[in-house]
Symmetry: C2
Subunit: 413 residues, 2 copies
């Protein structure tokens, strides 16, 4: 794969979402990303969703465009090989990302004895090094308490591993910033952060800490309403559910105009003594406002509403499930140049996304599939570690490394 990062090499020791996502993001920008795993596969080797044959769609999604090597890290020789792969020479190499429990042999201090300018970026659970996952960080921060139907007291966790996704992208930035610094100074870097800190910082970034600390109104659940202005879901005549946004002044005026509700809204604002040009007033009185809009939506099909809203440049969408999104949304099809239908080893042919980023200097490539575990063991021992053929053969023979699908023979043998 060519791309803006072509020539860079990053080594990844990882599992689950954040770090694999970071590596995949770099691979889809053209970097050579090598993921190493223990012989039988890492903790996420069979992560759901899985196909009936047991192969993981999750693995396939998170490891696109990487190279995979499988080795026995309990053996001294296996650990030595990992060290050599991470610290291999090359001006654009010597970068390591991980969320594995970093034991002595794989910490920055030890590894940088083999390559002084090593850049290492590690993600921990929390700042103390205690384990944490998206499913524990999110409840601790309070988001489930404001998610779900108005009036309900049951917390609702998000289904998207959002903190993992944010942390993974931040890891890419950390790595690129550290490499920029290495260019300028020749110095390596040990970068550490935690999943919980990523979430805790966002709580502050969104203004929630300041508001809470200064005794602002306690934020409640508000169903699918947009927080702080107007945005609401409506059921249309055909039973479809539509989301429509009145966040900016332009969106709000467009929504009123489309639904021909200026007069009743004026009456409502007069009777309440508030000005709906103030976005906060639209939020506070959202239910009264929604009651005025409801009949208009209930009398029309989603298709005709969507057509009219598009003509007016309004901001809206349908609520879909994964099946209908994939069947009906052109953005989730090969109409979208980000997507291609490719063959995925062990899983079949289906729609696969490349990077969302378009760089003017590079054409969009067809995305590369994820390797099967160990698919590139032999070539990595050759082109990265620089081992002679006979030594590679003996590593396979001794079971220190394995090839694709757990074979302890070289694919060519």
């Amino acid at each position: 794969m060519s791309g803006i990062l072509t020539g860079m090499r990053i080594v990844e020791g990882s599992a689950f979402v954040a770090v694999p996502l970071a590596g995949m993001t770099l691979a889809q920008m053209g970097a050579d990303v090598i993921r190493f795993d223990r012989l039988g596969g890492g903790l996420d080797a069979t992560r759901w969703p899985v196909a009936p044959n047991g192969n993981s769609h999750f693995w396939a999604g998170m490891n696109k465009g990487k190279r995979s090597i499988a080795l026995d890290m309990r053996s001294p020789r296996g650990r030595e090989l990992v060290t050599q792969i991470i610290t291999a020479p090359g001006k654009d190499a010597g970068m390591f990302m991980t969320n594995l429990k970093v034991r002595g042999w794989m910490d920055h201090e030890t590894l940088s004895q083999h390559r002084k300018d090593l850049i290492m970026v590690s993600l921990k659970g929390d700042r103390h090094g205690r384990p944490a996952v998206d499913y524990t960080v999110n409840p601790a921060l309070g988001f489930p308490a404001i998610t779900g139907p108005e009036g309900s007291t049951d917390p609702v966790a998000h289904a998207l591993p959002a903190w993992d996704c944010v942390a993974g992208q931040l890891m890419v930035s950390a790595l690129l910033a550290a490499e920029r610094h290495r260019f300028k100074t020749g110095r390596g870097q040990d970068v550490e952060f935690s999943l919980k800190d990523v979430g805790a910082a966002m709580l502050g970034n969104l203004g929630i800490i300041g508001d809470t600390a200064m005794g602002g109104t306690k934020r409640q659940k508000s169903g699918n309403a947009l927080y702080g202005a107007y945005g609401q879901d409506f059921i249309c005549a055909d039973g479809q559910r539509i989301m429509v946004i009145g966040l900016t002044g332009r969106q709000w005026r467009g929504l009123i105009s489309a639904t021909e509700t200026q007069a009743p809204l004026d009456a409502l604002s007069t009777s309440l003594g508030v000005d709906f040009d103030d976005e906060g007033m639209r939020y506070i009185h959202r239910n009264a406002i929604t009651d005025l809009f409801k009949p208009w939506f209930a009398a029309r099909d989603a298709a005709s509403i969507g057509k009219q809203f598009d003509e007016l440049g309004l901001t809206w969408s349908l609520f879909r499930d994964f099946e209908s999104a994939l069947s009906n949304d052109d953005d989730l099809s090969t109409e979208n140049p980000m997507f291609s239908e490719i063959e995925n080893p062990g899983l079949g042919r289906f729609l696969v996304p490349g990077s969302p980023l378009n760089f003017s200097d590079y054409d969009r490539d067809e995305p590369s599939p994820a390797p099967i575990l160990g698919a590139n063991t032999e070539e990595i021992l050759g082109d990265v570690v620089g081992l002679p053929d006979v030594e590679i053969a003996s590593l396979f023979d001794e079971g220190v490394v394995k090839g694709p699908a757990g074979k302890n023979m070289r694919p060519a043998a």
Copy 2:
């Protein structure tokens, strides 16, 4: 603020979450980030949460460590100033990030006439350039359909603007990757992406597209359960709700051991004819498993459970709301070196996060607060555009620019 990106200058024309978050992330790594806005402030100038005095906690959270200039972009002189700020000379400058509707004068083609190696990164709503926000992207992709209580048919949108947060971090990576390329080649770059594509790609990255396309089991709502393995919320004897994870084999065995449920679980697995060492079986039979764990949690206080789980190294957390998180969690306090209590102009003194990233070559600085709109107008016209004092004065006089709090006089005047 010093940091790994000290010396870099990025100009930001933005509103809402993604692009301001990108700029703030760069500012908190030491870059000089200049946000420009129209005279009265951008679309997010009063975004909720707001303080009783009308000042926005959201603005304060999203613009930390930046410099702010306010100018009249309807006037030719104002547009000329923005062009000069974006394309000002400097090896580590000439970078522009935006989600504003890019009119002719502010597109890459026009701006790069003033600086050939300009790097511009633009975020659109969808790939067609139609408007989209987190609140519309999320329903369209199908996540609300799998969020919320098992058995419910009502879609539940997430409260965290997750796609915005992911897109903002990806924007930082795009910018740093493009700047790396400029270092090597001298070439500028026009980078474009859309919020909806960020979400659509993640749908594929998580394996959901492959699973759905290949006819996998339709994914249902599963409350607060962890998808694909075991993880569940429980009510403790003191009424607190706790989340506990049995995702990896080690976590799962630890949970069984702590709750002393090996015998009933063995009986359950025998009667079902399944092996709970298979993480997917734990998910499929989660409700039966949860019934076996429940009494143990119901008989103990959250504090004693937490203590025991910590000793065993288990992965767990409490469900909190924002208020109790801020009162009771040390990670949301100055105990956490990421946080400082600082004075925030127009809002008061409260806990503010710096970057979650720790770079070994840099100490953690106290985070800088967000500027009030226009706080740095005068200095930016001087040190970036290079205008003489008299010309700056006349720009204030003519109302082309404004100082802090909308003053059309220079702060020193």
